[in-house]
């Protein structure tokens, strides 16, 4: 899952991963602290459609079709000239369009640093905290087998 360092798209993939998991409300709130996003035109969408999720036989073998996921995709071009894209695994036109606009802004050298610091970093931190909370809850349910140790002593 971790992008290889020689992947030219690694940085963009990393912020797209964060944007795909962000709610429209959270993105709007963080954008309030940034210079306004440039005007944009919609090249496609936002539109809802289906992605067929695939699994692997036995977990690691040949692919099979598991079932579909409802997704929203959006492609925009900002006035500054960048083309931004988002596909998110839920039905939410506003979130997909915002994510695409932020993706475009992050590709704009004049806007990248502010966007990365004020939008992506806090979103990523909140998502990581959510994952860590779940991982700690899971760890609390780990079975500690003590019978053998007790019998040996």
């Amino acid at each position: 899952m971790t992008p290889a360092s020689d992947d030219p798209n690694a940085e963009r993939k990393a912020w797209m991963r964060v944007l795909a998991r962000a709610s429209a409300g959270d993105m709007r709130a963080l954008l309030a602290d940034c210079p306004a996003l440039p005007p944009h035109i919609r090249l496609r969408g936002p539109e809802v459609g289906l992605v067929m999720a695939r699994g692997r036989i036995g977990g690691g073998g040949g692919a099979f079709n598991l079932g579909e996921i409802a997704v929203t995709r959006c492609t925009v071009r900002s006035e500054a000239g960048q083309v931004g894209h988002a596909t998110i695994a839920r039905r939410d036109d506003e979130a997909a369009e915002l994510a695409a606009r932020i993706d475009a802004a992050l590709q704009d050298p004049a806007r990248h640093d502010a966007m990365a610091a004020r939008v992506i970093t806090p979103l990523a931190a909140a998502q990581e905290k959510r994952r860590q909370d779940a991982a700690r809850r899971a760890a609390a349910t780990q079975v500690q087998f003590f019978t053998m140790a007790t019998m040996r002593s």
Binding site: A20, R54, G60, G62, I69, T87, A135, Q142, V143
Partner: protein
Amino acid sequence: MAYVAVKGGERAIDNAHAWLAETRRGDQAVAEIATDQISEQLGRAVDRVMSEGGLYDRDLAALAIKQAQGDLIEAAFLLRAYRTTLPRFGYSTPVDTGAMHIHRRVSAVFKDLPGGQILGPTYDYTHRLLDFALAAGAAPPAAPQAESGIAAMPRVSDLLDDEGLIEGDGADEGEPGDLTREPLAFPANRALRLQALARGDEGFLLAMGYSTQRGWGGTHPFVGEIRMGEVAVEITPPELGFAIDIGDITLTECQMVNQFAGSKTKPPQFTRGYGLAFGHSERKAMAMALVDRSLRAEELGEEATAPAQNVEFVLYHSDNIEGTGFVEHLKLPHYVDFQSELETIRRMRADAGRAEEMA
């Protein structure tokens, strides 16, 4: 005649549906249930409807459950109907369940497996006593959190691979067939069978899996591993040309390990059945894994005599949307068919009567 019947029926149908809507709402003195309450508080029903509806969307599944008054097969039917209105954007990269953010992971064969036994939010070990505190409505205490979270966990099947005592994940069969694009046809390879089982009826698969345990095509199963948690989904949009992560879905995976005496071509080793289902759907994933293995009878040179080993029988009857359609259509008007049957019976009786008179 036909038009008269349709027009007469129209008002009755409208009125019936109005009464249905009122019944669905129930006593209006009681607060109306919201779809977010369903997706948050009836999560297992949502998982099942997504699984059998073949569409991962918690909000839509919750709406379908509300609309169907909790009739989960009707709700799955609603999801199947809705999905036909949406365009298909493409296929995901196969999900990597080995990289799952684990909420639950247990093995019934290795006590001390790397990563440990993680019970997660399970009904196992509950006493199945009705909890009247829930009827009163009480906020639960916060679930305890350990100091540090769990690490990534290798799949049990990868751990066992070393000695060759257990079969591998299977060779790539190439581009898998897609039941949402082409109707089921036989012979159905394992990829196609797994797709059918993944959206198959949980009750049907449970009964089929159970039948193998009771001796109709026994496979001597052990739960190698069950894991449940969040898995990232990736697609490659054509305009980008590289894979992007579009978010997480919750999946339950079951690796069933089965005794196998060997055949003319294969040494004795453990074989495997595989189950994968949307949401937290453990019973479904386990039953699916049992049936996946029993359907491999022919491939493994076993005598296929039991229903659960019969690929056509299982796959033709696992889909509850098709099943309910064909069973429930029986209650729709068959006046003309029945009239012609009546005529036939009358004629046969008359013919028989004449034959008697002549004798």
